[in-house]
C-alpha cells in the first residue's frame, strides 16, 4: 500500500473517487452543446483560405481583383494586409498570411470572407498567384544535406534548434557494460483527427476583438493572437466554445483563428472560419516524426549502466511547439529507469513539409518507440524476461533523474505487475525461453503465432515551459442559494475536467457535487491559466480550484462563526450545511442561509475564494536540465498479438494498460482517458498514414487516412495503481497523455516476440512484416520509379484550387422512367445520382462534376424491383439499396459470396446508401458487390439511346459502358447444386477502407465430389478485375494443396499499383494468397451444400 493522506483517509472522501454524472453529458447527447461551427451571429460572413500548392516557392505576383469582384465577397486579405509580424509559441517564424515565400503545401496565402461558404470558396479559386517554384527540402535527409535549400533564409543548415547534454560519465559507463544494444528508430506523423476541425468566429468592436475559438488553451492563444494581430492582450477576448476534441492540435499554433480575425477586421462583420477536413490534414500541426538513435549498456545481471541518444526531429516549415517537444523527447524517458549516466544530442530540422506540433504524448511516444524497443532487444541479449529487466531498473519514489527530475510518488513497478497479471504474462510465457523466439524464415502454411510485449512510460503533470509560471488560478464563489460557482479559465476539451474540478471543489467545500457549478473560459472574465496541455489540469488546475475552495470554505466558516457565535475551529461544513463538529442536526444551518446573511447586511461581503497554484517545478535550462514538473505519472502497457505469416497481418488480441495517476478522482473519466489514449496509440502504430507526393498527402481525406473504429479495438484492460501524490489535489496526478505513449512500442515488442520481426520504422504495416518473413519472395522485385498520382485530390490541390467549388448551381430532377433518364444522359450535361456515395465522393475529391443537372434514378419503379423468380434467378434494379441483400434470407442461403460482400461493405449506413447501380455503374473491380457477382457469373442490363442489352458482368468490365448508357439491373442465376462461393476483402490496415485486394471464388462439385467448375476473381489489383476459370481443375479431386497450386497463376495475371494500401509486389502476393483462401473456402462450402 502506498501512503495515504494522513489528514483524510479514503473513508472521509464523499465526492472524490465517485462516478458522478459528467457535467457535459446531457448537452452532448441531446445535440444542444454549441461547438464553434454551430455558432451563428447576425450578419456573419464565411471565410475560405487560399493555400500554397507548392512545398517551396517565391510569390511573384498576387492578383485578388477577380475574387474581390465576385458578388457576395466582402473582403479579401493577403500578407500585405497584415502587420507582417511573425508569431509562434517559442520561435516566432510564422506569418498569418505568407509574405514573399511559401514553405509547405498548405501554407496560407490569401483569404476571403463572403456571404456564404460557397461564394467564399468560389472566390478563392479566382485568386491568381504566380509562383517561382524553389527547390524544396522534403525530408530530414534532404534538409540536412550539404547545400540543402533553406526553408528560412535566416536559418543556416535548416537547424531550428539544437542542444546536447552529458550527465555522468557515459564513456566510462559503456566501458563497464557487459551487454550493449543500439538501433535507430523512426517515428511518424500522426494527425489529431479530432472529429471537429479547427475553427473560429471573430467579431470586432472598435479596437477589441472577440474570438470564439475551439482552442484548448484560451489564455495562451490570446497571448499569441495578440502578437499576430498587433493588438494588446487585453483587447483580444478569447471565448472557448465546446471543443470537439483537441489532443494538442487545438493549442493555438495554427493561423486559422488569426486569419478569421483579420477578415472580421477588414470586412467589419463577424466572420466564421472552419477548416475543411482537407485543410485539417494539410495545415494543422501533426505529431513530429523523429529519427531516434539509442544505445544502452547493461551489466550481466541486467542493471542499466549507460544510455546515449542522438535524435533528429522533423519540424516542418514552422516551429510552433516543436522546440519543447524536442526537449521532452530527449530527457523525459530518463525519469523512467535508474540511468546512472546519459548523453544526448538533439536537433530540430526545418523541412518544406506541414509544420508539426503538439500531439498527446508530446515527443514521448517517439522516444518510447525507440527506447522501449531497445530495452526489449536488451532483454533478449541478456536472456532475462523483459518484464523482470524493466522491473529491476524501474525508478522508485525519491529517485532523481540525471536531469534533476525529482520522483515523488511512483508506482511504476505496481503498474508493471498489474499489467502483467491482467494479460497473464507469466502464464502465457511459461513455455517461452527467456528472451525472444526467433522463428527464422516463415514456411508455407505456417500457422499464426502469438507474442507478448511490454512498454512503459513516464509523463509530467504540467510542464514549466511557457515562461516561468506553470500555474493556474481560480475563483470559487459561494452563492446565497448554497451553491458554489467555480470561475476558471481552464476549459473542457472532452477529458472530463469540468467534472473533476467540480468534484474537487465540492469535496473541499463540503457540498454535494450537484451543488457546484463551473464556468466556461472567457479571457475577459476569468483568472489566468494555461489550459489543457501537458496532462496538467487535474494536478495544476485541480490544486488551484482546491486552494480557492479552501479560502471560500474558511470565509464561510468565519461568517458562520460570527452568525452562530461559535469559534471557527468548532465548525464544519457537511453536505451543504454548517454546524458544530459532532453537533446535533438542529444545530446546523444551510450554507445558503449563512451566505445570504453574510452578504445582505450593511457592509456585507461576498464569499469568494481566490486560489492559485504554481507547479512546484524548475524552468529547464537550454540543455533541458531542471525538474519540469512537481510530480510525474507512470504507466505500463502490455500487448498480446497474433501474426499471420501468410499475410503479415497483426491481430491485436489484448492490451493491458495500467496507470499511476495518484488518486483517481473520477473512475469513469479516468478509464475513458486511458481507453482513448490506447486507441490513438494503436492508430499511430498501425493504421494512420498517407501516401505522399511532392511534399503533400496525395488524398488528404479520412478515406486514405482512416482512424481506428470499434472493430479495431482489442480486448482492453485498464487499471490504476494504488497511489497517492502528496502535492496533488486529494493525492491526484494527471493522466491525459500517458495511456498513449508506449502503445506502439509494446505492440512492436509483441510482434518481435511472436515472429522474430523487429519493426524500426512507424507505421507497423502487414507488408513490412510479410517482407521480413519472406525476403525471398521480394528478391526479384522490380521497383518502379515513383510516379505522380493521377487526378483526384492531388491534382486539384497541385493546381492551386483548394476549394473545388462548383462554378454553378445544378438543377435537380427525379426521372420517372428509364427512358427519361437515358434522354437526360444523352443530352450530355446531366449526371445520374442514386444512393449518394459515389456522387459525394466525386465532389470532395475532384471538385464538382461539370453536370448542369442531377438526375435521380431512385423513383423509377422498375429500378426498385428485387425478385427471385421460379427458376431461381435473382434480379435487382439499379435503385435497390444493397441493404436489401443483407435482409434477404435466400441470398444468405444460396449466394454466399454476395452475403460475404455485404458484410464486407461494413455496416447498415453504407449498405443502405449504396445502390446496385452505384456499385455496378462505375465498373470498379475493387468494389465489393461486382466482384462477388463476377465470381457467380452475374449479368447486367444496361439501357441507352439504342435500347437495352444484357451482358455478362465479365463482358461489361472488358468493354465498359458507353457514356450515354446506364445500368438498369443485375441478375444472377441460382448456383447449381453442390456449389459454394466465397468473397474476401483484405484491408491490410485492419480498418474499413478500400481493400488492398479483394477476391471471390465459386466452386461447383460433381456428385462424386470431383470438381465440376471453379472460378476465381481478383479485384483492386488491376484496372480491371481478373477473372480466371480454372478449367484444368474440372474432374479433379480437390484439396487445399491442389487449389493453392492452381491459383499461382493469379500472380502473373494481376497488374497492381503501389499505393497507401500496399506496394505492387505485396499486393501481388496478397492477390495469390486471398485467391487461394477464397477458392479453398468456396470448395469447403460446396462440400456442405
Amino acid at each position: 500500500m502506498s501512503p495515504r493522506d494522513p489528514r483524510l483517509g479514503t473513508a472521509s472522501l464523499l465526492v472524490v473517487g465517485k462516478d458522478v454524472p459528467r457535467t457535459d453529458a446531457v448537452p452532448k447527447v441531446t445535440g444542444a452543446a454549441q461547438y464553434v461551427a454551430d455558432l451563428h451571429l447576425p450578419g456573419m460572413l464565411h471565410a475560405a483560405v487560399l493555400r500554397s500548392p507548392h512545398p517551396h516557392a517565391r510569390i511573384v505576383s498576387l492578383d485578388v481583383s477577380a475574387a474581390a469582384a465576385l458578388p457576395g465577397v466582402k473582403s479579401v486579405v493577403t500578407g500585405a494586409d497584415t502587420a507582417r509580424r511573425k508569431w509562434g509559441a517559442f520561435r516566432p517564424d510564422l506569418y498569418p498570411l505568407a509574405i514573399e515565400k511559401v514553405r509547405y503545401v498548405g501554407d496560407e496565402v490569401a483569404a476571403v470572407a463572403a456571404a456564404d461558404p460557397e461564394t467564399a470558396r468560389a472566390a478563392v479559386d479566382r485568386i491568381l498567384v504566380q509562383y517561382e517554384v524553389l527547390p524544396a527540402a522534403l525530408s530530414l535527409d534532404q534538409a540536412l544535406a550539404p547545400g540543402a535549400p533553406l526553408v528560412h533564409d535566416d536559418t543556416p543548415g535548416n537547424v531550428a534548434h539544437q542542444f546536447g547534454f552529458e550527465r555522468g560519465n557515459v564513456d566510462a559507463g559503456f566501458k563497464a557494460a557487459d551487454v550493449v544494444v543500439e538501433g535507430t528508430w523512426e517515428s511518424a506523423r500522426q494527425w489529431h483527427t479530432a472529429l471537429e476541425t479547427i475553427g473560429c468566429v471573430a467579431k470586432w468592436d472598435g479596437g477589441r476583438v472577440t474570438m470564439w475559438c475551439n482552442t484548448q488553451t484560451p489564455f495562451l492563444a490570446r497571448g499569441r493572437y495578440s502578437i499576430a494581430l498587433g493588438v494588446p492582450e487585453s483587447q483580444v477576448r478569447v471565448i472557448q466554445t465546446e471543443v470537439g476534441g483537441g489532443f494538442g492540435g487545438k493549442s493555438g499554433d495554427d493561423n486559422a483563428s488569426v486569419i478569421c480575425a483579420l477578415l472580421a477586421r477588414t470586412s467589419g462583420r463577424p466572420v466564421k472560419l472552419i477548416h475543411t477536413r482537407e485543410e485539417e490534414f494539410l495545415a494543422s500541426h501533426p505529431r513530429m516524426p523523429m529519427r531516434y538513435w539509442v544505445r544502452l549498456g547493461f551489466r550481466k545481471d541486467g542493471r542499466v549502466v549507460a544510455k546515449e541518444i542522438k535524435m533528429w526531429a522533423d519540424n516542418g516549415a514552422y516551429t510552433g511547439k516543436s522546440q519543447a517537444i524536442l526537449g521532452a523527447a530527449s530527457v523525459r524517458h530518463d525519469a523512467l529507469y535508474k540511468y546512472p549516466c546519459v548523453r544526448g544530442n538533439s536537433t530540430l530540422v526545418y523541412t518544406n513539409l506541414v509544420p508539426t506540433g503538439a500531439f498527446r504524448g508530446f515527443g514521448n511516444p517517439s522516444a518510447d518507440w525507440a527506447v522501449e524497443q531497445a530495452w526489449d532487444l536488451a532483454a533478449g541479449k541478456l536472456g532475462i524476461d523483459v518484464l523482470d529487466l524493466l522491473r529491476m531498473n524501474a525508478v522508485d519514489p525519491g529517485d532523481v533523474s540525471p536531469h534533476n527530475h525529482k520522483i515523488t510518488s511512483c508506482e511504476l513497478k505496481q503498474c508493471m505487475d498489474k499489467a502483467a497479471a491482467l494479460i497473464r504474462w507469466k502464464e502465457k510465457r511459461k513455455d517461452h525461453k527467456p528472451g525472444h523466439r526467433i522463428n527464422g524464415p516463415a514456411r508455407e502454411n505456417d500457422e499464426p503465432t502469438r507474442g507478448l510485449g511490454i512498454g512503459c512510460s513516464v509523463h509530467v503533470n504540467g510542464r514549466r515551459s511557457f515562461g516561468d509560471w506553470d500555474g493556474s488560478s481560480a475563483i470559487v464563489r459561494v452563492n446565497e442559494d448554497g451553491r458554489a460557482t467555480i470561475i476558471t479559465g481552464e476549459g473542457e476539451i472532452g477529458q472530463g475536467n469540468l467534472t473533476v474540478l467540480r468534484q474537487i471543489a465540492a469535496e473541499e467545500l463540503g457540498l454535494a457535487y450537484d451543488q457546484v457549478d463551473i464556468t466556461r473560459p472567457d479571457t475577459d472574465l476569468h483568472p489566468h491559466s494555461l489550459g489543457a496541455l501537458a496532462s496538467r489540469l487535474t494536478y495544476v488546475a485541480g490544486n488551484a480550484v482546491k486552494n480557492a475552495a479552501t479560502v471560500a470554505a474558511r470565509q464561510l466558516l468565519e461568517a458562520a462563526s460570527e452568525q452562530m457565535k461559535r469559534p471557527v475551529e468548532d465548525l464544519t461544513i457537511l453536505n451543504g450545511e454548517i454546524g458544530p463538529r459532532n453537533g446535533a442536526e438542529t444545530d446546523f444551518k444551510a450554507v445558503g442561509a449563512v451566505v445570504r446573511a453574510h452578504i445582505y447586511r450593511p457592509g456585507g461581503q461576498p464569499i469568494i475564494g481566490v486560489g492559485t497554484f504554481d507547479n512546484p517545478s524548475e524552468f529547464p535550462d537550454h540543455n533541458r536540465y531542471g525538474n519540469e514538473s512537481g510530480a510525474y505519472n507512470f504507466a505500463a502497457q502490455a500487448a498480446e498479438v497474433e501474426v499471420d505469416p501468410a499475410t503479415g497481418e497483426v491481430k491485436l488480441l489484448e492490451i493491458a494498460a495500467v496507470v499511476d495517476c495518484g488518486t483517481v478522482i473520477n473512475p469513469a473519466t479516468a478509464e475513458g482517458q486511458v481507453q482513448g489514449a490506447v486507441m490513438q496509440g494503436i492508430g499511430l502504430a498501425m493504421i494512420e498514414y498517407f501516401d505522399w507526393w511532392n511534399g503533400q498527402p496525395t488524398d488528404p481525406q479520412l478515406k486514405d487516412y482512416p482512424i481506428p473504429g470499434a472493430a479495431t479495438m482489442p480486448k482492453l484492460h485498464v487499471a490504476f495503481a494504488d497511489s497517492y501524490e502528496p502535492s496533488g489535489p486529494f493525492g491526484a496526478k494527471g493522466l491525459g497523455e500517458i495511456g498513449l505513449d508506449a502503445v506502439p512500442a509494446a505492440i512492436a515488442n509483441a510482434i518481435a516476440d511472436a515472429c522474430g520481426v523487429r519493426v524500426y520504422e512507424l507505421p507497423i504495416t502487414s507488408e513490412k512484416i510479410h517482407r521480413a518473413l519472406h525476403p525471398e519472395r521480394y528478391a526479384q522485385e522490380k521497383l518502379a520509379a515513383p510516379a505522380a498520382p493521377k487526378g483526384g485530390t492531388w491534382a486539384r490541390i497541385a493546381a492551386g484550387k483548394p476549394s473545388g467549388a462548383r462554378p454553378f448551381s445544378p438543377e435537380f430532377v427525379f426521372a420517372a422512367s428509364v427512358d427519361e433518364a437515358v434522354r437526360w444522359l444523352a443530352a450530355g450535361d446531366s449526371a445520374l445520382v442514386a444512393g449518394g456515395m459515389s456522387h459525394a465522393l466525386r465532389r470532395e475529391r475532384t471538385g464538382y462534376p461539370q453536370a448542369k443537372r442531377l438526375v435521380s434514378i431512385m423513383r423509377i419503379p422498375e429500378l426498385n424491383e428485387f425478385s427471385i423468380d421460379a427458376r431461381g434467378v435473382l434480379r435487382a434494379g439499379a435503385a435497390v439499396r444493397q441493404q436489401k441483400f443483407s435482409e434477404e434470407a435466400r441470398v444468405r442461403k444460396h449466394w454466399h459470396a454476395i452475403e460475404d460482400a455485404m458484410e464486407a461493405v461494413g455496416h447498415t449506413r453504407i449498405r443502405h446508401m449504396l445502390t446496385v447501380g452505384g456499385s455496378i455503374g462505375p465498373l470498379i473491380g475493387g468494389f465489393d458487390l461486382p466482384l462477388a457477382l463476377l465470381a457467380l457469373g452475374g449479368r447486367v442490363t444496361v439501357a441507352g439511346p439504342a435500347g437495352r442489352r444484357t451482358v455478362t458482368l465479365e463482358e461489361a468490365f472488358q468493354k465498359r459502358f458507353a457514356r450515354d448508357e446506364m445500368a438498369v439491373a443485375i441478375e444472377v442465376d441460382m448456383p447449381p447444386a453442390r456449389t459454394g462461393s466465397r468473397f474476401f476483402k483484405y484491408m491490410a490496415r485492419g480498418v474499413l477502407e478500400i481493400p488492398t485486394v479483394n477476391t471471390a471464388a465459386a466452386v461447383s462439385l460433381n456428385a462424386d465430389g470431383t470438381c465440376a467448375a471453379a472460378r476465381v476473381t481478383v479485384g483492386a489489383v488491376s484496372w480491371k478485375p481478373v477473372v480466371i476459370d480454372m478449367i484444368e481443375l474440372a474432374g479433379q479431386r480437390l484439396s487445399e494443396g491442389v487449389l493453392r497450386k492452381s491459383v499461382q497463376c493469379v500472380g502473373a495475371a494481376v497488374e497492381p499499383m503501389s499505393d497507401v494500401r500496399g506496394s505492387a509486389a505485396y499486393k501481388r502476393e496478397m492477390a495469390v494468397e486471398f485467391a487461394a483462401r477464397a477458392l479453398i473456402s468456396a470448395w469447403k462450402r460446396a462440400q456442405k451444400q
Partner: protein, 159 residues
Amino acid sequence: MLVKFRINGDPAEVNLKSGDRLLVDVLREDLRLTGTKHGCGIGACGTCTVIMDGYPIASCLQLAAMCDGADIRTVEGLAGTATLHPVQQAFVNKSALQCGICIPGHVMAACALLERNPAPTDAEIRASVDSVYCRCTGYVRILEAYKEAIMLARKAARK
C-alpha cells in the same frame, strides 16, 4: 426548388438554392438543427448520421433534393421535454462520451439499430458502433451504452 419532408415529426419546407445541396447543410444552416455534425464530407466518420425512413444515413452524402417526402429524424428529435430518450440516457449513465462531437452520430446509429432490432448480438452492436468514428473514447463505454440502452428500453417496456 421546394423540398418538403418531415423533420422530427414536424413538416418542413426548404427552398433549395441549388440541386446539389446536402442534407447535412440544410439541417444545420436552413433549419438550424446543429446537433447533426459535419465531420468528413465523404461518409466515412458517421458524425452526420441521421435516420431517414427508418434507416441510418450519412447526411453529408444525401442530396437534400432527394429527401422530398422523407421522414427524417435527428438527435434533436429524441428527447422529450423532461426526459431523455433511453439511448441518450444510456450514454449519460455510462459516461460514454468525451468531447461529444461524434455523440449525436453514435446516438442516432444506436437508435436506428435498436428500433429495427431490439435484441442485437454483440457482433451487431460492434458493427453499429464501428459505423461511427470516435476519436476520444476507444469505444469501450459506447459499447456498454448500447447494452445499457437495451436494458433501459426493456425496463420501460415492462412498466
